[in-house]
Amino acid sequence: MSAEKVAFFILSGLTLGGGLAILFSVRLMRAVVYLLVSLFGVAGLYILLNAEFLAALQVLIYIGGITILMVFGLMLTGPGQFVNPAESRLKAVAAGVSSLTTAIVLLLIVKKTKWPAGTQALAGDTTAEIGRLLLTDHVFAFEIASVLLLVVLVGVALFVRLARDGGKP
């Protein structure tokens, strides 16, 4: 077994194990840490695929941004550090239905997509390639994402201002 394969199994183990641990963890903060482990595994997988830029993005945005925001939110919301899955039957049913649908949709997508069968590594500088693609073929998606983020930003600023000025716009 080559070193790459060992690394692959370790990393995917981290990813999946982290994901499972999130599911079975009742403490929110620990769940976030497991999420960190899982995301780290994904970043490692990207590196195995020679997509270093994506790996760094994964770490920077998901670990440095998203999880920190999650922790920030947790810290701001008082002492409740536990979740109780059995708290309400309705919620459990709703969660079950929604996760089942998501799973089905994902599986369908996985089945329908034609995965490239090539195993050779991408040649050259992936960073430059990503940049080129983002500003040429996928420029529309790129711009849509930027507009969405801008809307969010302005919206948050508006809400904060409303709260500060006592409800008057």
């Binding site: 701001l76 002492p79 536990f82």
Partner: protein
Amino acid sequence: MVAVEKDVRTDELVINMGPQHPSTHGVLRVVLKTDGEMCLDAQPDIGYLHRCAEKIAENLPYGQFVPYTDRMDYVSGMGCNMGYCMAVEQVAGIQVPERGEWLRVIVTELNRIASHLLAFGTYGLDTGAITPFLYGFRERELVLDLLEMLCGARLTYSYIRIGGVDGDVPPEFMDKLKEFLDIFPKKIREYNKLLTYNHIFMKRTVGVGVLPADVAIAYGVTGPCLRGSGVRQDVRRDEPYSVYPKLEFDVPVGTDEHGPIGDAWNRYYIRIRELEESAKILRQCVKMISPGPVLAEKVGRVKPPAGAEAYTRSENARGELGFYIVSDGTMTPARVKVRAPSFSNISVLPAIVRGQMLADVVAIIGSLDIVLGEIDR
């Protein structure tokens, strides 16, 4: 089973600041109610340093209480010595010789410099600048060396005695004092450059903890804190005692040059300007002092007439220090009451802290410049 929170909510956080906290300037405890970084309420909780000083005074002969007054405002013990001795002298009808009065003013002003330098340094610490603290202490050491040369102690002087002072100055004292006064203005300019006009420092203190003049007066705030609010009140000028009528000095008050009157920066800056004023007073004292006795003769055992009482006001580094003494005709006073300036000054804290941020609470407490030994006595 673990505890279950029904709902996600943001909470007010009650924080206990002190009694062991780096910037409560002693054993003050402040119960803070905060919402994130915002401070909604602050209740100072005092009494951790209570030593029954007033009750001790009622059980000691008049003269023996002087060392205890050192330990009230331990940063400017001379001022407390002076306040107490003035009260006793008034109640027992003792006249202090002229040179004694001059020396008293010299040592209290020196002590005021030492105290304000400490306030300057610790205020730097409170706002996160550590170096000004050491610079302040460097000059404070010079003052303490002078006082040590004079009375043998660096902090708990008990140099001012009933009827005068304990011994004339040593021969080299006046030269050393002049030397100090020569280098001191340069150092003050340096403090201003390093801290006072530092932009970060000004952003941290200008407009923070604004204490309007009427609120200050209502709470009985005195000293630099009141003057920072723009009220020109100074016992040395309004109700002159000792040789202050012969001296010329300004009473600096807060201005709206850099921000609202009565903010933390103004309170801080008043102290810096009072350093200059004290140095000015000292320069005049060095010139005007004349030889003579320093201690009233035949003070011996102080035994005021029964029923005699006196309240004296004096301007200590922190504000108006009052001593009220009632005599019952014995060797010990019937009642001694101390009006400690820090006590009134800290009482204003809840009124000016609301709506400020957590870091401002520290800046405000620092700008009030309290001494817990005096608050709790």
